[in-house]
């Protein structure tokens, strides 16, 4: 089976398993509705904190409220996409610990697809909805000359941002083959990264921005391409074409995460738990 065949097989298995989990979730309908409403409230409060900040100041690190909302919306929506589709992989460690990963390894489907769809949590849609709403507000409130390129860049940012976060999730899952209790470490990069990106790069120290640009390239989720849309100076004085690098960065991240995953699975299969 070639790589393309494996991808098709994986997506098919993913769809089947995620479907089962959605039906399992809907077996407790009231509980599901309550968790989604609760999720919307909690993530909503998250943005309220930013609103409160702006009731005291007019700009944050040189960015106005609609501009920060733009960064926030991009970060939250991309993260929401990744978290909804592949966030479950972050629970791999517990499956390794209790030995139930073995039950996935005897099925005729790629393990990553099974792990990604494992306990597919539809409630995570709350983050996605909230992110989209904030992005919608920014879209209306921003004073930007929306050229066709800028308009096209928004969906590109969301898709590539989602892929970059997904790569971080997969790499984190791969690490859990070796260190089963590393889900907290992974959370620091995924949830932590998402929160970081909600604020302008100008409020952080250069070292941190450098790390988030060149080491773990989360800056390409929104900071760099959004600088082009907003007509702001680029962080670290990056060249202008960097705003259009997200697709390349996303592909590179996915390739690295893919190798890490394969290495992790190989380690597991040669050592057991």
């Amino acid at each position: 089976m070639g790589e393309g065949g494996r991808l098709v097989e994986g997506l098919r298995a993913y769809r089947l398993i995620a479907g089962m989990w959605i039906r399992s979730t809907l077996a407790y309908r009231v509980s599901f509705v309550l968790t989604v409403v609760g999720g919307l409230l909690v993530t909503g409060l998250d943005f309220v904190a930013i609103l409160l900040m702006f009731s005291q100041v007019d700009v944050l690190g040189g960015y106005t409220l609609p501009e920060v909302a733009f960064l926030y919306g991009l970060s939250a929506t991309s993260f929401g996409l990744a978290d909804l589709s592949i966030g479950s992989a972050g629970r791999l460690g517990s499956r390794v610990r209790d030995g139930t990963l073995d039950t996935l390894l005897v099925r005729p489907a790629p393990v990553l697809a099974q792990v990604a769809a494992d306990r597919f949590a539809l409630r995570r849609v709350a983050r996605l909805i909230q992110g989209t709403l904030v992005l919608g507000y920014a879209w209306v409130a921003l004073d930007v000359d929306w050229t066709p390129v800028k308009v096209a860049l928004v969906p590109v940012m969301l898709v590539c941002g989602g892929l970059i976060f997904a790569a971080v999730f997969v790499a984190g899952a791969a690490f859990q083959f070796v260190a089963q209790d590393a889900s907290e470490v992974q959370a620091a990069f995924t949830y932590g990264g998402q929160t970081l990106l909600q604020y302008p790069p100008t409020v952080f120290g250069t070292e941190l921005v450098r790390g988030v640009t060149f080491v773990l390239p989360l800056a390409f989720v929104n900071w760099v391409p959004a600088a082009y849309v907003l007509g702001r100076p680029y962080p670290l004085g990056l060249p202008e074409w960097a705003a259009f690098a997200p697709p390349l960065v996303a592909v590179a991240c996915c390739a690295v995460a893919g190798s890490a995953w394969r290495a992790g699975l190989r380690t597991y299969r040669s050592t057991g738990s």
Binding site: M20, G99, D102, T103, V106, A109, S270
Partner: protein, 340 residues
Amino acid sequence: MSEGATVPESAFIEVDRVEKVFDVRRRTGFLQRELRRVRAVDAISFTVARGEMVGYIGPNGAGKSTTIKMLTGILTPSGGRLRVAGIDPSRERTRLAHRIGVVFGQRTTLWWDLPLIDSYRLMHRMYRIPDGRYRENLDRLVELLDLSALLEVPVRQLSLGQRMRGDIAAALLHDPEVLYLDEPTIGLDVVSKARVREFLRELNTERGTTVLLTTHDLQDIEQLCSRVMVIDHGRLVYDGALAGLHEAGESERTLVVDLERELPPVEVGEAARVVKVDGPRQWLAFPASESAAPLVARIAAEYPLVDLSVREPDIEAVIARMYQDRETARETVVQAPGNS
């Protein structure tokens, strides 16, 4: 691909000097780790013919599950050659998956919150079982395993025995040629155990499915398997009929008698020896190959007997004995040159 066709029928599962070495890191201090090599499976060789039903037994940590995991493609062997239906399990895990069925006794693969039938529908699609064959297999399994009343019940509401039957059906919907069962009767009541065993016997004789099962229950082996393999400390220490195992382990059964009052140890000569006395209750060990009837008759005639029960030897005890014997034999050999 052509390899599958050339495998002789006599060797459906081929295991040739297969070993599995783990590096175990043990925490010895706050940051210090000690690295230890553990041979979980040590150069094991055996073949299983198509249609055989084999019991695979051994104490906990002997290497049973590691072997099963290598046979199912979960683990990659560290050395040796392994083929199941001509397929190298660790290299072609997904291709093999279509041809094997696996039941992990204590880990259900059924969907907890959904009706049982939903798990089967998933298998139907995941294994791409043709509709007609799926219907046919489902109907047959539902009838044989008595599942018709359970199909619409969420799995979380099933009893342990019902769930095990459900799991076995799930593992067989795609017509696997070999079925691996890890402790299929663990925790089941007598009726459920009997039903599972009867089903497995039928599966093996009617459909010729090769069955490899690990168990702690000697009765599973007695009632199902013509052949038993014993693994201990990663080595295959016995491969043959169950009767021979009793012999090899010189196993003993235990007769527990309750007397009317506290008495000195029962005297029955060579037939049995008292191993423990606790008030009016006494434990007598006698050879597993002997019938308990004459012994019971004799005690009942000579002593005020109130109640009794016979306990079968457990696998751990049989193997412990075998192992002891081997150790003693080895020591004798080692000492021999020194004495001469």
